[in-house]
């Protein structure tokens, strides 16, 4: 397959990846108002607007970080679609809120749709992983956390006052347990592609 041309808006993705404050501020300035307006018009409040935008930007960051997101469409379209769908999901989740967004018959660009879908799947996975991590035993959580925030496994062993061999083994087993929890969850099968 011929790889599609990168859109010039890739600068926003790079900006997120590099934690570039001025680009992140630009994203808020340029692209958030449309989202805010959409959520406001569909029974959302300021806190909810803020949350949706923040969560979507984290999802984009994660996607770029793990899958190397290459933007082939305008950032605006991609970002707005993600926010719109996230808000729709929020509305559906809270049963006390009526879902008033009408099904618009606007055709969405294929590239936008595809990129948004991939990002959503990855985001869902991320949420599932997070939830399952909380189900791990305390010791496992600690070993895993330390293994990833500490430079070497030797240091982890020293911090936990155990041997290097033990930490290595424990880390493998805890990661494995986490994969088992994920596999057992109902949501996992729907997220496989």
């Amino acid at each position: 397959m011929v790889s599609k041309k990168l859109h010039q808006d890739q600068i926003y993705i790079e900006g997120l990846l590099n934690n570039n404050s001025s680009i992140i501020e630009t994203i808020y300035k340029k692209f958030a108002p449309k989202v805010i307006n959409h959520i406001k018009m569909n029974s959302g409040n300021a806190d909810e607007e803020q949350d949706v935008i923040q969560e979507v930007l984290i999802a984009i960051y994660n996607q770029a970080k793990t899958k190397g997101l290459a933007l082939t469409c305008p950032f605006d379209a991609y970002f707005f679609l993600l926010c719109k769908r996230k808000w729709l999901n929020e509305l559906k989740k809270s049963s006390n809120k009526e879902v008033t967004i009408k099904d618009e018959n606007v055709s969405i660009d294929k590239d936008v749709e595809k990129l948004a879908m991939e990002t959503e799947v990855q985001d869902e996975k991320q949420l599932l992983f997070d939830e399952m991590f909380q189900k791990l035993g305390e010791k496992c959580q600690e070993v895993l956390k330390l293994s990833f925030i500490t430079k070497t496994m030797e240091e982890v062993a020293a911090k936990m006052n155990v041997t290097y061999a033990y930490v290595r083994k424990k880390k493998s087993i805890c990661t494995g347990q986490l994969t088992e929890l994920i596999q057992q969850s109902k949501r996992y099968s729907s997220l496989k592609y």
Binding site: T66, I149, T175, E180, I182
Partner: protein, 241 residues
């Protein structure tokens, strides 16, 4: 058994297998789809943990949070800058915008130019050099006699009078002389005056009047959020979507 498997996954990922062990493991992976799936998930889980605890992503989230709350608190705390419109008139204009918004919501379908053409009065005479044409243009414009206003505007040397140029363009839109209006507005939009956002707004309205919705949207999205046209622009944008 499972534990052994997890340890071998970890060893493989960390490049801690001998060449022989490696070959055997890769062979198994190739021939056993269930094993392959387990291994892929293990790899993905590792990646997830790395992302969850990496300093970079924690820093990113913190920074994002800060920028986000800054952005939202600024939005609620700052009042839009009002330039030279008396506050009474401004309130009336604001009320109009609100009513228009409500009216739109209850009226599905494409927006129309008539919903947006409540223009401000022209008020550029006091600082102009007592030019008869300027006085005339202003009076006709404010009286909504756009044809006559156009005739007066046409006699004015526009150089350096961006506000006059803007009102001339509005007047031309009213009389459906879109090409001439566009030329004047494009000129303003490329400059650096305080009227750049107004130019985009009226370029959008000219497109709207011609039912060129895509073009209209293109111009509306160029209006920046520090403009007093911004609220109206958002309403229009929402209606166009």
């Amino acid at each position: 058994m499972q534990e052994e498997l997890f340890i071998s996954f970890e060893n493989y990922l960390n490049n801690e297998m001998s060449l022989d062990e490696r070959n055997i493991f890769e062979n198994q992976l190739q021939n056993d789809s269930k094993l392959r799936e387990q291994f892929e998930l293990f790899k993905e889980t590792n990646q997830f943990l790395e992302l969850k605890f990496s300093k970079e992503s924690i820093d990113f989230k913190e920074n994002l949070k800060k920028i986000s709350s800054n952005h939202f608190s600024k939005k609620t705390n700052t009042k839009p800058k009002v330039i030279s419109i008396q506050s009474k008139w401004f309130s009336i204009a604001a009320l109009l915008v609100v009513f228009m918004g409500i009216w739109f919501l209850s009226n599905p379908g494409n927006p129309s130019y008539l919903e947006y053409n409540q223009h401000e009065n022209a008020n550029f005479v006091e600082r102009s050099e007592n030019n008869q044409n300027v006085v005339e243009a202003q009076n006709y414009f404010n009286a909504k006699q756009y044809k006559k206003a156009n005739e007066a505007f046409a006699k004015i040397e526009l150089n350096g009078k961006t506000d006059v140029q803007l009102f001339y363009a509005i007047s031309l839109i009213e009389t459906n002389q879109f090409d001439d209006a566009n030329a004047l507005l494009q000129d303003i939009s490329k400059g650096e005056s305080v009227y750049v956002n107004d130019a985009f707004w009226y370029l959008a309205l000219a497109s709207l009047k011609q039912k060129k919705y895509v073009e209209c949207k293109k111009y509306v999205t160029k209006i920046t959020d520090d403009s007093e046209k911004y609220n109206k622009a958002q309403i229009l944008l929402n209606d166009l979507d």
